[in-house]
């Protein structure tokens, strides 16, 4: 196991800042935070589904994911989450 938490991504338009914090129990928590908060374009449910799909692929069963979304498509969120996970030692 590497670091307890990892971050990836930027606050640029169409990107996402993603943080993953490991946990040993308690399941998975995924929070999607639109940035700016009044931005209604974010499809939070689709982004959460994408994040959970990746976590399942990588067999991550516990931890907290926070996605600060800057109008990113789902594949960008997955890419940033995979990089954040990689920085904690979770790789394909």
């Amino acid at each position: 196991m590497g670091a307890r938490s990892g971050k990836a991504g930027t606050a640029d338009r169409n990107d996402a800042e993603v943080e993953f914090v490991h946990a040993t129990a308690g399941g998975l928590q995924v929070d999607i935070v639109p940035c700016p908060p009044e931005d209604g374009s974010t499809d939070g449910a689709a982004l959460e589904a994408a994040a959970r799909e990746l976590l399942a692929d990588l067999e991550v069963t516990a931890g907290r994911v926070t996605v600060r979304d800057h109008a990113a498509p789902a594949w960008v969120v997955k890419a940033r989450l995979e990089a954040a996970l990689g920085r904690t030692g979770v790789t394909r």
Binding site: G9, D12, N14, V76
Partner: protein
């Protein structure tokens, strides 16, 4: 004929530029993992590029990835993760055939592991040092995967201790060597990027000069540069009409059993015919040829 007039660099560490797909004027796009990505972001950029290659609609564009040099820890990791996915890889700081073969051998492994046809992914060695220029022919001939040589003027100028000028005479030797080496090896040649993306006159001048030297296209760092480069690398009406007259005269002479062809009082010899055929092929590929 596949046109390679424009190849647009896009930094691989941010999705903003390639999220909507490539601009229509780009013949090739390059997702860059090298100079535009700081060391601390190499891992995340590699992953982002992998998802972009899978997810973005690239249409009929030639999609390339510039990997890091194999002498760094990043280069082999780049080839292992995304090497099999694009149409080709650009190998930066290429100086010897070994630099190409290291990538080619790793690609052989990656393609075999994934059950892909051997040699599917092409290579474009980027020549940007004095040593690379002097070894250009050997580099060009080093692998059947090579489709063209590319030139990087900024690093080259720094390497020889020179200075970039608007007039560009400091690049003449290197550009000539690269074109000659590429054509002798039977592959294409792509000219360096033009760094000032606001100076469209300077860009046009340099692109026109590159086209006259035999380059097939030029790199771009900004989408606004693409139409200017296309204009420089597309034959104008006068050249197309002249090429048509030459080809019509050749056809007529052949039909009459004559080996001697003249147009406008000038003999048409094999190089003139070859140039006319190339202009017509370029014009047809660019959609500016009218029967």
């Amino acid at each position: 004929m596949r046109l390679r007039r424009t190849r647009l660099y896009m930094p691989g560490n941010g999705p903003r530029l390639f999220i909507k797909g490539p601009p229509p004027e780009a013949d090739s796009v390059i997702l860059d993992l090298e100079d535009s990505v700081p060391p601390a972001e190499k891992d995340a950029a590699r992953i982002l590029v992998r998802y972009a290659l899978e997810s973005v609609n690239w249409g009929d564009k030639e999609v390339l990835v510039r990997v890091n040099p194999m002498s760094t820890p990043y280069g082999p990791a780049d080839v292992r993760m995304v090497g099999h996915m694009p149409d080709g890889l650009i190998i930066p700081k290429c100086e010897t055939p070994t630099d190409v073969l290291q990538v080619a051998l790793l690609l052989d492994e990656v393609e075999a592991e994934r059950g892909l046809p051997a040699g599917k992914v092409k290579l474009i060695p980027l020549i940007e040092t004095a040593r690379g220029v002097l070894n250009a022919l050997e580099v060009a001939k080093s692998s059947p995967r090579n489709t063209s040589l590319a030139f990087g003027a900024e690093d080259y100028t720094a390497d020889v201790g020179g200075e970039r000028t608007n007039e560009g005479s400091e690049l003449l030797f290197a550009r000539s060597m690269i074109v000659a080496a590429a054509k002798a090896a039977g592959i294409g040649a792509s000219d360096t990027v033009f760094g000032d993306f606001r100076d469209m006159d300077g860009l046009y001048r340099e692109a026109k000069q590159a086209a006259a030297m035999g380059f097939d296209g030029k790199g771009a760092i900004h989408p606004n540069q693409l139409p200017v480069i296309i204009r420089a690398f597309t034959p104008d009406t006068g050249r197309i009409e002249k090429a048509k007259r030459i080809m019509e005269a050749i056809k007529k002479a052949e039909a009459e059993g004559s080996a001697v062809v003249a147009v406008g009082g000038k003999m048409v010899d094999p190089p003139v015919r070859a140039r006319a055929e190339k202009i017509i092929a370029q014009a047809k590929a660019a959609g500016v040829y009218k029967e």
